[in-house]
Amino acid sequence: MTLDAVDRRIIAATQSGLSLSPQPYAVVAAQLKLTEDEVIARMQDMQARGIIRRIALAPNHYALGMVANGMSVWDVDNTRAGDLGEKIGALPFVSHSYLRPRAEGWPYNLFAMIHGSTRDEVEEKRQVIAGILGDACRANDILYSTRILKKTGMRISGGT
């Protein structure tokens, strides 16, 4: 997976967002003194290679009324965790779902971030997940955040 200097300049120019104008890739091109065709071709190539996961908007859960959220964690049978994880990830109230390794004193391998308008609603949705996992799940818990201690965007440096 290689990125050349031009790719890195495109990443640096677009990672905070795209211009809301009819030809957003032409705006990037003008800024970087490239042609629009080259920017489009390179971004399509980065998407094909998985470097760009998607071009999309990110909803603000809080503004959309989803002011409660909890990190639910599940101890799911290893042989079924992949298939069941797909189902949990597809639920409309789950924004992110991951398989992660277990640790000592931490039996949970499936993580799913649940969003709701109230904590009661989050707990109801947690029961929905429990129902889907059924007997493949041995234990679960949910961790509510009480404070944001640090929040910074991910940034990579531009090409040289």
């Binding site: 009819p22 998607r54 603000n60 959309l64 989803m66 991951y98 991910m154 990579i156």
Partner: protein, 157 residues
């Protein structure tokens, strides 16, 4: 970032359709708004002004490419620590002082501090995690992602 709910009438059905559809993807082409708008039955200029409005009222946090940090050569790891209450603020300061700590949340659990390390390499993750262990005297549990399930979050259309 806005952390309070918008009034219920802030978004109409078209806004909700845009929110759902454009989480999935957006074209890389010469007139992407015209293309995406056609799929939704909205004119190019209407789609642009609606997304602009969604951004202005804080209904979306971002519009653009989502880069895969690992594919770009970066390494990420969710980490957790069990920090005694009396030491909590001191440990927050020590942990947050590392620029590799991208975000950090206090959570209600025995493991009460959860943060993400973002480094250029896997070795970097290991180095920073060990530094934090040395500085704080507490274990840093590492939960790297083994697999991701992403579909996205839906608003009621």
């Amino acid at each position: 970032m806005r952390r309070s709910s918008l009034p219920p009438d802030a978004l109409d059905a078209t806004d909700r359709a845009i929110l759902n559809a454009l989480q999935e993807g957006f074209p890389i082409s010469k007139r992407p708004f015209a293309e995406a708008g056609a799929a939704l039955g909205i004119a190019e200029d209407d789609l642009i002004s609606r997304i602009t409005n969604l951004r202005e009222i804080g209904a979306i946090t971002r519009f653009g490419p989502f880069y895969d940090a690992a594919a770009m050569g970066g390494a990420f790891c969710l980490c957790a620590m069990e920090v005694p209450a009396a030491e909590f603020e001191e440990v927050v300061t020590l942990v947050n002082a590392h620029p590799e700590v991208a975000h950090n949340y206090e959570r209600m659990h025995r493991l009460n501090m959860w943060f993400v390390l973002a480094c250029e390499t896997e070795q970097g993750i290991e180095r920073v995690a060990q530094e934090i262990e040395t500085e704080t005297g507490h274990s840093v549990l590492r939960f790297p992602k083994l697999r991701e399930f992403f579909i996205g979050f839906r608003v009621q259309a």
